[in-house]
Symmetry: C2
DNA sequence: GACGGTATACTCGGCTTAGAGTATCCGTCA
DNA sequence: TGACGGATACTCTAAGCCGAGTATACCGTC
């Protein structure tokens, strides 16, 4: 798990498109967007040009020509260096090989959930289910769109992954919402009482008498 | 979907602990870590103090006293303001209610996967399976640890979520690895040929003759 | 009583990032 | 013909974020 000189995933995408042919930054963005990569990688111009500079500094890419048409801004065409090709392969391998802990917003939300009273949380989860359904439909629509543009399934594998993860979350949230509504969730009783202002459930995180965990 | 004045999830955690009692930043971190929240929310001191400042500027919290013991650095104790309580509830509700698109590294990796030849990818996925197994064991160990410290299940719900998501990914990656190894994956043929340097598969992303998608 | 290790409590600087802004060219529709 | 939107191709700046560093206090031990 080496520390990368440039760590933004957009830089990986830049190395990947440059491995096919040299081009200027704006064209990279066009190519990536044309293939629907903006669904899996944050592409924004602010970051793109910074990332390209950083890759030049790290000698993973180099400018090969610059020219201008009329009075338009100058275009600089970049090419992958041998070191860049190595970096591309190694970095991509590392990403596929090892799973790194990430911090999705919802996980943070769940971990603070007891701050809200249970009666409030149940309908929120119901809304989330709707929200997930919508997102699922969007992903499917995106895949259909790309496929009808002639893109191979192999190049939409990340969308299939996302779809599967959405389905998994959906099932889990449905289950949690049900447990809340049916009252079958463990600890639901004290959670409810605590929000009633019941002093006996002060610091209700810990079972039994308060214990300091450090 | 309002734009938050302070958007770091750590800020939400700060609001949450302050809703129980006033305290100084270092104590917030201790309390959050004691409850295992560093598993679901990035807690680091650099961000903590910046985030506390930002919350003060936004009037969600305010300093209530500062004092020093001996010659130790000064401690500033903060308290939640009414506006902060509103923000806490609204923000947390929004997170639970709506799913926002995120960009996990692995999704980016998958979307660029065809850059590597298929024979290379298969063993990488096998390694990922091991890596996921390890992570899964860690999550389980963490839950056992916390439970034996007396923490209620309700306060480990985010760990259950993470465990479920890990299992889902694990099953999917196993399936993908198998398809690669058995040769049953769609488009595997051209993918292989392309890495052999077969010119007939140039720009193999698109089926049939090259079409420009913009 | 000197020494090392750990806990306490922050501070600082530099790198990353996002998002808005700028300037030019081109097609088209009235 | 001229005006307007949209595509092209960057640039700039404020803010966010993190990791490493700092300084003191406490505690055991040899």
């Amino acid at each position: 798990m080496v520390k990368r000189k440039v760590s933004n995933p957009l830089a990986l995408a830049v190395l990947a498109v440059l491995s096919e042919s040299s081009m200027h930054p704006y064209e990279m963005a066009q190519k990536l967007k044309g293939r629907g990569k903006e669904q899996s990688i944050r592409i924004n111009y602010g970051s793109l040009y910074t990332v390209v500079d950083a890759l030049v500094r790290a000698s993973f890419i180099e400018p090969v020509e610059t020219f201008r048409e009329g009075r338009r801004p100058e275009r600089t065409v970049y090419a992958l260096t041998p070191a860049g090709e190595v970096e591309l392969r190694e970095w991509l391998s590392e990403i596929l090989r090892t799973s790194t802990k990430e911090y999705p917003e919802f996980e943070a939300g769940l971990s603070l959930m007891p701050v809200l009273p249970p009666e409030t949380v149940a309908p929120l989860l119901r809304q989330r289910i709707e929200s997930l359904d919508i997102r699922l439909a969007e992903v499917r629509a995106f895949m259909d769109q790309m496929r009808s543009n002639g893109l191979r399934r192999l190049f939409l594998i990340e969308a299939e992954y996302e779809e599967m993860m959405l389905r998994a979350e959906l099932a889990w949230v449905k289950c949690l919402a049900e447990e809340l509504e049916e009252g079958t969730l463990e600890d639901l009783e004290i959670w409810y009482r605590w929000h009633q202002g019941d002093e006996s459930s002060r610091s209700f995180a810990i079972r039994g008498k308060e214990r300091h965990v450090s």
